[in-house]
């Protein structure tokens, strides 16, 4: 390796960074004998960039040459950016060198489409294969499958990778056609289905023969770009929910569109990326996956877009005051989870502790319940104050918005991106 690689690393990292996924969890690859590394089931972040995003994997492109011209992408054919590629050897050396120094959990490899999809995919598979077989690398590997690549190559990729992803990018097909005329939903869904089948088959096989090969053990994920097209939050969340249910995806990532290509009339003129909306979508995604909410409880025809001023659970509660207050000492777990200000951890502590006696508000606070919010939606021992039912809905909304705004003004842009899948640890 020489100094040229520094420049390549810079260019190809810059090209890859807009892909938000960084998870390294959900797989359990142990170090068999004396190979390099293992993969921890809960995923590990090794650093955080100045934008507060977790760095878990060496997230890089094999090449930023691309034959496609997608409006939202920095690497599109018509852009005048510096182009370069890394060789298989350079990539494996980088990965191993970083891994041994505990910089990373593994590799997340994507690529622009060079020549044609198969030509590109072959090279990516080659990197994963060399890491696993030649270097006996047991760390995490995430490959982005190239739309249009042959099913055989995707199947081969799945034997080496922990996770495969196919990015949908644009939440509706009409808008995808508009922004990326060379792509279609069929090209995206076909590999997704094939990966799903591969995962299911491998799981069945492994029940019969423990030595049967693992196929994409950490499952597949996808990414949706938010705010590059006119799609509503209802359309986005319905799509996400069906991807979770029908394609059994592990994660859907939401990436607030960053105006990398100014001057394209098909794209909205944004001054700032829609970070608040992105955050609200992640919160809703959490409600879908861990809190037992349905999409139509979060958004509806009447409210197709998420409230940017209130988190989705709080706005659900304010839209449905008749369901509250919840009796902390009696209600089922599912209902306790629905109270604004109570999270997965505090809900579990409540359930465990109330067997020993009734809980009061002070104890709830100590357990981590945000009483400033929760108090309007619960009853517990000795707490009988104003609940959401005694207040006019307009007033209660004002109460929370005001609080949140005053907090916001102190913390500009304070958002949390749920990049890592820590929640898994709770289960």
């Amino acid at each position: 390796m020489n100094d040229k690689i520094l420049k390549k690393l810079e260019i190809l990292t810059n090209s890859a960074k807009y892909d938000v996924s960084c998870a390294s969890s959900g797989t359990n690859r142990s170090n068999s004998g004396k190979g390099i590394g293992n993969a921890a089931a809960w995923g590990i972040c090794h650093s955080f960039t100045d934008d507060g995003r977790c760095v878990s994997l060496l997230k890089i492109m094999l090449s930023n040459h691309c034959i496609y011209d997608c409006a939202y992408c920095i690497n599109r054919r018509s852009n005048d950016v510096e182009r370069t590629s890394l060789s298989v050897k350079e990539l494996t050396e980088l990965t191993i060198g970083f891994y041994r120094r505990n910089y990373i959990e593994g590799l997340f490899l994507s690529s622009g489409v060079i020549k044609n999809p198969d030509y590109t995919m072959i090279r990516m598979v080659c990197v994963a294969k060399e890491l696993r077989t030649l270097h006996r690398f047991n760390g995490y590997i995430h490959l982005k499958s190239i739309p249009g690549a042959s099913m055989e190559l995707i199947r081969e990729a799945g034997l080496y990778a922990d996770r495969l992803s196919v990015n949908m990018e644009i939440p509706t097909e009409t808008n995808l056609k508009l922004l990326a005329p060379e792509k279609s939903y069929a090209d995206i869904l076909a590999p997704m289905r094939s990966i799903r089948t591969g995962i299911l088959t491998s799981k069945e096989d492994r029940k019969k023969f423990r030595s049967a090969p693992k196929f994409v053990p950490a499952g597949q994920s996808t990414q949706l770009i938010i705010g590059a097209s006119s799609d509503s939050d209802q359309q986005i969340l319905n799509l996400a929910s069906s991807l979770y249910k029908q394609q059994e995806l592990k994660r859907v990532y939401y990436s607030g569109y960053i105006p990398v290509n100014t001057g394209d009339k098909r794209l909205p003129a944004l001054t700032n990326p829609p970070l608040v909306r992105e955050n609200r979508l992640y919160q809703s995604d959490w409600l879908l996956r861990f809190y037992g909410f349905g999409v139509d409880e979060i958004v509806s025809e009447k409210h197709p877009d998420l409230d940017l001023e209130l988190d989705p659970k709080l706005s659900y509660a304010l839209r449905n005051p008749h369901l509250f207050p919840i009796d902390i000492n009696k209600a089922d777990y599912e209902w306790i989870l629905r109270v604004p200000g109570i999270g997965l951890k505090s809900a579990r502590l409540i359930i465990m502790s109330r067997r020993y006696g009734r809980l009061n508000s002070r104890q709830l606070q100590k357990m981590g319940v945000v009483m400033k919010r929760a108090r309007y939606f619960i009853t517990c021992n000795e707490l009988s104050s104003l609940t959401v039912n005694e207040m006019k809905p307009e007033y209660s909304r004002q109460l929370f918005v005001k609080k949140i705004l005053s907090k916001k003004s102190k913390l500009p842009g304070q958002l949390s991106l749920f990049d890592h899948e820590r929640v898994k640890m709770l289960r």
């Binding site: 170090n31 934008d51 910089y103």
Partner: protein, 260 residues
Amino acid sequence: MKTGNSNTWIYDKTFEGLLSLVFDCYEIKQFPSKILGKTELQTSMFTADYEVISDEIKAKRVWKGLNKKISKLSCEMIYHVFLSEMEDIEILLLNYIRKIFDSPENIEYNFRNESVLKMLKINKKVKREAQRIIMFVRFQKTADDIYYASFEPKYNVLPLTTKHFKDRFADQKWIIYDMKRNYGFYYDLENMSEVTFTESLVDTSSGQIDKSIMAQSEEFFRELWKTYFDSACIKERINPRLHMQFMPKRFWKHLTEKQR
């Protein structure tokens, strides 16, 4: 200083010593109001009323008793909380253990109780610190192929991380060193042993190993990593507050990507 009912006990500041202390309490039916390490005593105003002698058999009996009463996870929690080295942590631990032994029902999940909840919270802090070592440790390769990393953890969590490093880096020699407590672990491809440096070639202000013992490729990899780290940031999303929340400043000293 001896006042009224105060009863100060000293021990050797080991976990075995603390468990032996619990044993002695039940044996002589007395409970200390203050517990100090032998060396701590010298710098305090207290005088010792009783000295606990660490005893493996006593410690094992107490540990076995605990394992009968509460889950494995809660037993581990007792050890984690001990590693926090917080002031008067021994008294909290003693009270918790007494509650477990003396209560007819199992109280480990009764988070209505303040000391049970306090244990849970300290446990969380200690585990988080251990997790952060696993996240933020940066190995530097030496000329003789040993990967070295130093760290200054808030709590004494190094023992909680060694299994992880042993499993992961089974085919490389490594040393992970607590510069604050001046001890570490060395893995030589076969065994792991505790080590203490008397003189070292590590710069105490940056945790970096001296250039004279550095592997040839080391500086280049450092530069590669810094380049990667800087390039991966999306300028439009810069958020120093969030950055600091996830990666607090006290860790920066030993982080390659933060060394300028």
